[in-house]
């Protein structure tokens, strides 16, 4: 059964269903949305990788300040250009789906917030994160003094082993105390 990009085989569908948190219907919808992003000749090729620019035209990601990070985290591209294949796209949707566990959500949230991909949230990551949250315009930005204080406080609160950075388990520890995280870390197609 050939699985070109425009067609989804039955085996593939059930396999995807088994491997992700998505339902069959959600996978089909995702497939539909993904094929819409493909150009005409790409539709016949298997495993096409859609470049990040085109992924970011999706309204669900368009105005998200973390959009580039999201693409980079879920991309399996060798060139680290943030391009997504359909499987990567499913991964993304699975992590952001309704039924994904707190653990998997917090894992990916951590990777999204870890801007330099070094496995911990250090001061720089936190600074970038806060800047993403508050927006890049000058009137909403925190002053350097506030930023310093904020980062110190965050580290003081969440850095349990006091090594100056927030690692994954410390991050998950913080997240587990915020029940709203599961409901807000969602993207619905």
């Amino acid at each position: 059964m050939g699985t070109t990009a425009s067609q989804l085989g039955k085996d593939m569908l059930s396999e995807y269903q088994e491997l992700t948190f998505l339902t069959k219907q959600e996978i089909l919808l995702a497939h539909k949305r993904f094929t819409e992003l493909l150009t005409k000749d790409e539709k016949d090729l298997p495993n096409t990788r859609v470049p990040m620019e085109r992924i970011l035209t999706l309204p669900e990601l368009k105005s998200n300040p973390f959009r580039k990070r999201i693409c980079n985290v879920f991309s399996t591209s060798e060139y680290k250009d943030g391009g997504l294949t359909f499987e990567d796209f499913l991964d993304l949707l699975s992590a952001f789906s309704d039924s994904a566990t707190l653990e998997i959500k917090s894992h990916y949230a951590f990777r999204i917030f870890d801007f330099d991909d070094d496995g911990t949230l250090d001061c720089r990551d936190l600074e970038k994160l806060v800047n993403c949250l508050t927006g890049e315009t000058d009137d909403t930005r925190l002053t350097p003094e506030e930023m310093r204080q904020l980062i110190n406080n965050i580290l003081e609160e969440s850095d349990i082993d006091k090594d100056g950075t927030v690692n994954l388990s410390e991050f998950q520890h913080v997240i587990s105390r915020s029940p709203d995280f599961v409901s807000s870390f969602k993207i619905v197609l």
Partner: protein
Amino acid sequence: MARNVAFDLNHPLMEAGLESPIDEEGVHDSFSQLIAEQSQNGGASDSDAFELQELQRQLDEEERDNVAYLSGPGRELREFQGRNQRDTEWEDAETQADPLIGERWSSATMKILSSMPSRTIGRNRGAIISQYYNRTMQLRRRRQSRPAIRDFSRSARPSIRGYGIETDSAEAEVSKRDRLVNNLQNLSVSDRIRMLRAMPLNVSEKSELRSLALHKEKRTLSRRIPCCSQLKYYIINGVRQGWYSWLSFMHSLHLWQVPLKRVSGRFGSGVLSYFLFLKTLLFFNVFLFLVTGAFMVLPQALHPPAPSAGRPSFTGLELLTGAGYFSDTVMYYGYYCHYILRTSCRDDGGVHNVSLSNGTRPDCVSKHLSYNMPLAYFFTIGVSSFLTCIILVYSMSKSFGQSFRIDKSHSILAIKTFCSWDFKVIKKSSVKLMSENICTQLKELLAEVSHKQVKNTRCQRLWRLMVHGLAWTICVASTTACVLAIYYCSDHMHQNLQLFLHRGVSDINPLLNEASLLALPVLVSLINLLLPGLFNLAAWMEDYESPSVRTYVSIGRNLMLKVSVLGVLCYHWLGRVAADPKIIGLKCWESFVGQELYRFLLMDFIFTILDTLFGEFLWRLFSEKVLKRRRKPVFDIARNVLELIYGQTLAWLGVLFTPVLPAVQILKLLLLFYIKMSSVMMNCQAPRKPYRVSQMTTVFITLLCFPSFLGASVCVTYTIITPSSSCGPFRELKTMFQAGKRWVEELEKDNPNLSVLARAHSYLVENPFFLFVGAGIFLIVIYFHSQVVDGQRKIIGLLQEQIENEGDDKKFLITRLQTIHEQKRTPARRLASQNSNC
């Protein structure tokens, strides 16, 4: 410093040497490097080529580094932490001896630091695989599928083994992976699926793992479709495609999928929670409606009793009052018959297909279906409310578990930073608004943290206390006044009805008479509409600092109002009307109360619509056109949810008297959804204040369960004990319980073997002892759970302490390592630090 050693990862070499997430080897051979380095140190061979090179690089780097050091955020951090002194003596001495080393680490140390397990777990595939290997192991052990002995020996210390002290490389990862696959094979299918799903790997890797795990089973399956013809293949394919498109079509039919997405895209989770709550209520009512419809309304509608004479004609006002034309239909309790419904066993036509239960015709019973209406009525109501209760308690406890964790430390700022972004919001202006909100909140929190409670003077406190006192007085007084008004109004109505009865109905316009029934519902709904505004005014006067306190106070006041209003109404129905129904000429007070509840429900709906129209739509127009303000009104989630709860309480109260009330409630909720949705989209803007969704949802579910459902069921139970004797399915019985008792007795008569059942019934239902035992067990279970939670809290405290100690240890070791390294590099420094250390 000390407790906070900041490892400066801005180090230039550091960045160059950092591995990408996929890149494994560099990370995983780092420990071997550590070991190698140590052995080198131990060997005391001073000037290795390696060491020299290292030194050269180090010096270069230090120079480059100075600039970064001065400007990097890490420095300020260190200074700040330096002020927070909790330094240990040893480190203090060291810093004094050599401030340059202090906390600046050589590149080798940095590399080790960055490859420490706690830091690699977030990005490293190997680490994830071994973590999940451990989990599958634990799962297997728990499921007792007898793992092999070699597995046992390996998993003795999961943490250390997991991250490869055993100098792992690509080879080690492969073996780890094999072991994981082996474990996955031995899990049950559902466990395997769950495990695979929860792995934070990408789909292609997971599918590889899966196919490896399925390998054995696959081989046994032979390919069965070699001879499949081309045509057949195409047909199957076509059918499948059709099925898929059908499935995706069904997905789009999912209830309110698109509108809910639009609301969340614009307003975030807070406003969404209102609509989700509405949806939950809708499901409760659909359930109730299906049960009552299938077991009570439908059988009764199929076997109508002989129609009573003089049925009033349909005028249209009935839709509002529920009386008149509707009063003698399946809508109300009084219509239901008290005998066993049978399908006709005589051949004389279908009109008299109902026979009395005491006119027993054994041949009929044996040959045809019979339906015991009182029993059905009793059990349908009982079972459905029992199920509702269980669902409510279950969702309440689940929601409690999710929203209130056992934890005493509150890391507000960290939570705010990590969890406040709502990924569902997709509208550009809303994203901007959310950024602004987060920014203000962060600034406020920071100000709060740095100032840590400005002490109020005594005078200010007294003033605040007075304001609060005044606000509460206003609220309580207005509530009391409203309750009194309702009390006297209902009393007046009651006496009016008595007067009508004495004077005879002839001299009064029946329409007017019927319309006057609406007075009480209108009054109550008006109070429900206006008083919350007054409460809001009081809250504005009080000017609460924290938004959550403000919300809780407002909920408390609204709840006080609603509970007391419903209390008075229940007294009116059960104490006045039910106590002496003859005095106002009622044959069946249950039907009357059912009608009243219908009216209340409808009026509540109408007033909600009016509120939406005036409070939201016109207010928006007014403030835009006249006041020229750009701000739109904010959707008051708490108040709206409380209105929903009030309406649901009415529906639950009324289901015994008006079995079709859930259907009315369903209609109401459906309409309300669309009205509120369009109103919110048109008139409102995203709330500025943060809204704690899950905690509030927990509070609301609790309210739905505790005063609403329990109150309603207590009232209903009261009626179950004393049904009216001239109408309804229980007219020959003293209490409704006797319907069950009588049935059991009959069963026993027919079949003496079932006497055990009868005895069990009489023990369980009639004896209060078992009720007490059940409640006692329940309380004991709750007590045990609270004790367990208490214990866990203590353990969490201990563990946290231990983690801090481990962090100190780590820091100590690294500092030592660094010192030794430094000693080796420069003899001069070695001297200095030896002096200081010893």
